[in-house]
């Protein structure tokens, strides 16, 4: 059971209040018409599956119902940070 800090509610809550929504920081292409089918397909369907640090989108479904981002280690399940949409992670695979 993960204990997750919601950056909007500003407190820790149980995992059952949340839903994971997959990889974070996927910008929608500004000009989809200009993309090849391969590029569009990769934007829509292809996701990273890293071993270690992963940036994920989560939603506080039973709480404030807001989306936020999480930096989580896929090996240890350790949550390094949660942060609001539009903010940058402070923990990355490079750091």
């Amino acid at each position: 059971m993960l204990h997750i800090f919601c950056p909007h509610c500003a407190e820790y809550r149980e995992e059952e209040e949340f839903h994971a929504k997959g990889q974070a920081h996927i910008p929608r292409p500004l000009d989809p018409e200009a993309l090849s089918d391969k590029e569009w397909g990769e934007y829509l369907y292809f996701r990273k599956n890293p071993r270690g640090i992963h940036h994920e989108l989560w939603v506080h479904a039973a709480g404030c119902r807001k989306f936020f981002n999480m930096t989580r280690d896929t090996v240890t399940y350790e949550i390094h940070e949660t942060y609001k949409i539009g903010e940058k992670p402070t923990v990355t695979a490079q750091s």
Binding site: E11, R13, C64
Partner: protein, 215 residues
């Protein structure tokens, strides 16, 4: 048509006329009889507050004009601080999310409040009557905290859940917005369609402490 008439037409009074009687989602349970015939003493008291006027307000917490206007219209402060509430004469406001509040007023006054907002609230906002989809329960008594602890995965210790705090969370297999009214009193705003299920759940969870039903 005058502008004033236009304004009023945009807000719909959701109360039926006098010839139609409003019914709470727990009408079928006949709680008046349960309360009269059931135990009068016990560790947990459950009370249903039927047909409360509930409105969802969405506006910009960063807009000082809007926040001030809303606070004036409500008669209580609209707080930006997460998980807080404010209550005054006949009105309570619960923080739901950074741009959303749940307001409760007397059921018959909801339309007046909507109309007042429509006339005086500046900027882009939404105020929607959600009273038809929700209902209000109150759990109190010496063992109220024990029942809450069984039902929701949040910490109900007074240090982390003081009086006035509001938490939306999973509640049994449903959901609830919980407000602490006193050390041993909790208000639950629950989904109308889950009212029967949650009533039965609370009845069962309270049994070991002795249940009192009050109307």
């Amino acid at each position: 048509m005058s502008e004033a008439n236009n304004n009023v037409r945009l807000v719909m009074d959701q109360l039926p006329g006098d010839d139609i009687q409003g019914r709470s989602p727990l009408h079928h349970a006949d709680l008046a009889t349960v309360a009269a015939q059931g135990s009068q003493e016990g560790g947990v008291t459950i009370q249903h507050h039927p047909l409360v006027g509930l409105l969802t307000l969405r506006c910009n917490a960063g807009d000082a004009d809007q926040m001030a206007a809303a606070s004036k219209l409500l008669g209580v402060e609209l707080h930006c601080q997460p998980l807080t509430s404010s209550a005054g004469e006949g009105v309570a406001v619960r923080w739901m999310s950074p741009d959303e509040w749940l307001i409760s007023v007397d059921g018959a006054k909801a339309f007046d409040l909507e109309t007042a907002f429509h006339n005086d609230m500046p900027g882009h906002y939404a105020l929607v009557n959600v009273g038809g989809g929700l209902t209000v329960l109150e759990v109190s008594g010496e063992h109220a905290v024990d029942v809450m602890m069984k039902t929701a995965p949040v910490d109900f210790h007074l240090n982390t859940f003081p009086v006035g705090k509001v938490v939306s969370t999973v509640f049994a297999k449903s959901s609830a917005t919980i407000r602490r009214l006193a050390d041993d009193r909790f208000e639950l705003v629950i989904r109308r369609s889950f009212a029967d299920y949650l009533w039965l759940w609370l009845q069962d969870a309270s049994r070991e402490y002795g249940l009192v039903v009050r109307t």
